[in-house]
């Protein structure tokens, strides 16, 4: 071999140089990878590591058809600005930005130009709720604690009427007038409109690096904003906002969720566990421009969207009853009113509406005076049901075989001896003589009902009343259900056996009275009132199905049918509420029901100047509770109107004049929607033909 291109000296020098380079490289590598490894890694992890959070979508709340979303989650983008990056040329774009954001221009300009925040003394190292309050920012989140406050104290000297239980009168006069909620307004830094700031500078001010412009920007609107090319805008933060597309429709049942997507009231609160879902997250690294380096993802937990809740509420039925309720409100301007519609065979509610109501989209705009609107009075408030309660005495006496429909009682007497004591019987609206049990129900005789209860006796009468669901909670899932007020018979006044059968001296919630009537419609079986039908996952598969829940068998099927037959007479021309009868094209839909007109306990100033709580002659709670068709009940409807007297003829409201027509109007509208067939026609909901009038 030749000596090649190099002399010995050159070859050795080249080899030495190469080895030296490799050795230097090796030393450097050892230093980087072994000696300084921990420090370097720490810095890299700090600079490049990031955890990206994926917000789970809160599930929808659907009506019974599964097609109408009563509550849904709408994607929104939080748009913020970094004032430190604002360029002079951006100022010309602010009017357009303000227009797109629907925010006053002055506010946008203020956010763009306010670059520092002066911190108050002693608060330099904390950005907390106190600081937020000091900044004067508007409350960003209302956390409502829906707890019923204890009844307010009423003058102990009140209610000295001999026929009135003073304790009961005080409770009735105050219980439903208490504020419904304690509103605890809390604010957290995360929810606030606060700006994110860096460390304070030498003169104690912090540079603002993130100032929120709007948190309700839609995707389409954000696309327009991006076209403006404002560099100072921060990276968009995508999140979901809870919206209620139908505004106040079923507001008291659906409830609402706060800005943190936590259910606060209604189904939003009850089914929060199913609705809320599970946020996902992933660990990865980012480059110098803060872009995610997808290849360095290490751990990833996918988000799990919330389940959807299908209610038994039918949006069409709900809309009908809410419009009827609005008509009642416009006509009579009552203190409050409630309408409940359900399927008596299953206990599932088809609609429930209260007046006054609210818009869950704007729950945080309610003033303190308007907080009572949040209360679901159908389940949380109790009232004296009045004559509707007579079904208890009638059903009990028939069930025990003590009387038959034709058994007669003297309803013309005003005193009666019971357990060795002479008791005053309650007054009647009309003079009656001998009345059969059927006539007692049809004419709503107070004295007749009292005598039916006396046939049963205190113990058995109370047992039947409790079996019908009075005095205890029925297990309704939302609205803060009240058990009502029903004392043990040991604590009754002697006169109570004459008053309770006609629906006085007892406090019942509208839902209790509705379920009691539904028990008659359902062949004597008391069912739990329910509104949740199904839980569905994100792929629309049914996770859980709710079915009817039996609470108790109250009376036999035969007795229930007999009582239903008696109640049919109420809506006849001989009864107290012919206004409730439904006849279409000559077909009678066999309405069975009962009117109720109960005096309210109101404070009244006596001549002596003392305030007494007495049953008022000018303030009534009127109701009509019924179902149809009586021979094959398909729907139960309750209408309860509180204090409609001021706008009634003669200044007195009656169940037959105020509530019964509403019952009829609702019933007529429900017949085609629920495919309710006439009593003597086989149920065939599938074949119907519309006439010309239906297609105008």
């Amino acid at each position: 071999m030749s000596r090649g291109f190099a002399s010995n000296y050159r070859v050795v020098l080249l080899a030495t140089g190469l080895f030296a380079c490799f050795a230097g490289l090796g030393v450097r590598l050892v230093r980087l990878h072994v000696i300084d490894r921990d420090d370097l890694l720490r810095n890299i992890v700090k600079a490049r590591r990031q955890t990206v959070r994926e917000t789970a979508r809160r599930g929808d709340i659907l009506d019974t058809t599964g097609r109408v979303r009563l509550a849904t989650s709408r994607p929104m983008i939080v748009v913020a600005v970094d004032p430190m990056l604002v360029r002079p040329e951006d100022e010309a774009k602010l009017p357009e930005l303000a227009r797109l954001l629907e925010v006053p221009l002055a506010e946008v300009q203020r956010k763009f130009t306010t670059k520092y925040r002066m911190l108050p003394a002693g608060a330099a190292n904390s950005v907390d709720g106190k600081q937020a309050a000091a900044s004067g920012a508007a409350p960003a989140m209302l956390k409502l604690d829906l707890r019923t406050t204890p009844p307010a104290k009423v003058d102990a000297d009140a209610a000295t009427d001999a026929n009135v239980d003073p304790e009961f009168a005080r409770a009735m006069a105050t219980a439903n007038d208490t504020p419904p909620t304690d509103v605890a307004v809390t604010k957290t830094a995360a929810d606030d409109d606060d700006d994110e700031t860096d460390a304070p500078d030498k003169i104690g001010r912090r540079p603002i690096r993130w100032a929120k412009l709007s948190d309700r920007v839609s995707e389409s609107c954000f696309a327009e904003i991006e076209k403006l090319g404002i560099r100072a805008l921060c990276a968009p933060e995508r999140r979901y906002t809870r919206v209620y597309p139908h505004d106040q429709l079923a507001a008291h049942l659906v409830g609402f969720a706060d800005r943190d997507q936590h259910g606060v009231a209604g189904i939003e609160s009850f089914a929060d566990f199913y609705l809320r879902g599970q946020d996902g997250w992933r660990e990865s690294e980012k480059d110098g421009r803060r872009r995610e380096l997808a290849q360095f993802q290490t751990r990833e937990i996918p988000r799990a969207d919330g389940y959807s809740v299908v209610l038994s509420i039918d949006a069409m039925v709900q809309d009908i009853i809410e419009r009827e309720l609005q008509k009642v409100a416009d006509t009579y301007q009552p203190l409050k009113a409630t309408i409940i519609v359900s399927n008596p065979r299953t206990g599932f509610l088809l609609g429930l509406a209260n007046y006054p109501t609210y818009n869950p989209n704007e729950f945080n705009r309610l003033t303190k005076d308007q907080m009572s609107r949040l209360r679901n009075v159908a389940v949380s408030d109790f009232y004296e049901p009045g004559s509707v309660f007579k079904i208890v005495a009638a059903a009990g006496a028939l069930e025990e075989g003590l009387v038959s429909e034709s058994s007669a009682f003297n309803c013309g007497i005003d005193r009666i001896t019971y357990k060795g004591r002479e008791l005053h019987l309650p007054g009647e609206d009309h003079k009656f003589g001998m009345l059969t049990v059927a006539e007692i129900i049809a004419h709503s005789s107070n004295r007749g009902a009292a005598q039916l209860a006396m046939e049963l006796g205190d113990d058995r009468f109370e047992r039947y009343a409790r079996a019908f669901g009075f005095g205890s909670k029925l297990g309704f899932p939302v609205g803060g259900e009240s058990p009502g007020m029903f004392k043990h018979h040991d604590k009754w006044y002697p006169i109570d056996i004459t008053r309770i059968p006609m629906g006085q001296s007892i406090g019942a919630t509208p839902i209790q009275m509705h379920q009691a009537m539904s028990t008659i419609a359902n062949g004597g079986l008391l069912l739990r009132p329910q509104i949740v039908r199904q839980i569905r996952d994100a792929s629309d598969s049914v996770v859980y199905q709710y079915g009817p829940v039996e609470i108790d068998r109250v009376v036999s099927t035969q007795t229930a049918q007999r009582v239903a037959h008696l109640l049919q007479a109420v809506a006849s021309s001989q009864g107290t509420a012919p206004e409730a009868a439904i006849k279409i094209n000559g077909v009678d839909y066999e309405v069975a029901g009962k009117t109720g007109t109960a005096q309210k306990y109101m404070p009244e100033v006596q001549a002596s100047g003392r305030v007494k709580i007495v049953p008022s002659r000018k303030h009534h709670v009127v109701s009509f509770v019924g179902f149809f068709p009586a021979s094959r009940p398909q729907v139960a409807i309750s209408v309860v109107v509180d204090d409609a007297d001021a706008h009634c003829l003669g200044g007195v409201a009656y169940g037959s004049k105020v509530a019964a027509p509403v019952f009829k109007s609702i019933g007529e509208k429900l017949i085609p929607i629920l495919s309710i067939t006439p009593p003597n026609q086989p149920a065939r909901a599938d074949f119907v033909a519309a006439t010309e009038g239906g297609r105008r």
Binding site: M1, R3, G4, N8, V11, V12, L14, A15, L18, R57, V68, R69, T72, S73, R74, P75, S218, E219, S220, R238, Y240, V243, P245, H246, D247, L249, E292, L293, A294, Q295, Q297, A315, D319, I584, N585, E668, K669, I671, P672, I673, T677, P678, Q681, R684, F687, V688, A689, A690, T691, G693, G694, R696
Partner: protein, 164 residues
């Protein structure tokens, strides 16, 4: 090449170093290319995932808008502002049909066929068949047609009479 000589050894070392550099460079380039491909695929996956999320969000957005547009109050106000004159459904506008409408429609179609063929051939066709169980009593004028068609559907026989 003499391995034992210094030059030979140096040349071997140089060749080995060059080969190592070449091989190492190739491996390094390959690794870089591989990692680049991994990052490209990961970025594509991320972009696809992002697009999927964006589409889902847009669907949610549109769904919420559609739901608002379909709310009863909105529809009522549209009905009023556009003067559509749509009215609420009431039971008085509905005629319950007590018989099976399918058999009625079939009867009418068969009646037309028989009338047309009878007129063409000069024959009258009289069907005398038992009505099916599902058919309810109806007016005598239409009963024959209904029972005939229903009978035909049931595969029953028919009696034909020829007019002179």
């Amino acid at each position: 090449m003499k391995i034992g000589s210094v030059h030979g050894f140096v040349n071997h070392v140089l060749v080995a170093v060059l080969l190592t550099i070449g091989f190492g460079g190739s491996v390094g380039l390959g690794t870089v290319w591989l990692r680049h491909q991994i990052s490209v695929v990961a970025d594509n996956n991320r972009d696809l995932e992002q697009r999927r999320h964006d589409i889902e969000r847009r669907i949610d957005d549109v769904t919420a808008q559609v739901e608002s547009a379909l709310s009863p109050d909105t529809l009522r106000s549209l009905n009023q502002s556009m003067q559509l004159g749509l009215i609420e459904l009431s039971q008085s506008q509905i005629n319950p049909v007590s018989v099976d409408p399918i058999s009625g429609l079939v009867a009418r179609a068969n009646r037309r066929v028989f009338q047309r063929e009878g007129a063409a051939s000069g024959m009258s066709i009289q069907l005398n068949l038992a009505p099916p169980e599902t058919t309810a009593s109806a007016a005598p004028a239409t009963n024959a047609h209904r029972s005939a068609s229903a009978g035909l559907l049931g595969g029953l026989g028919a009696q034909l009479a020829t007019n002179p």
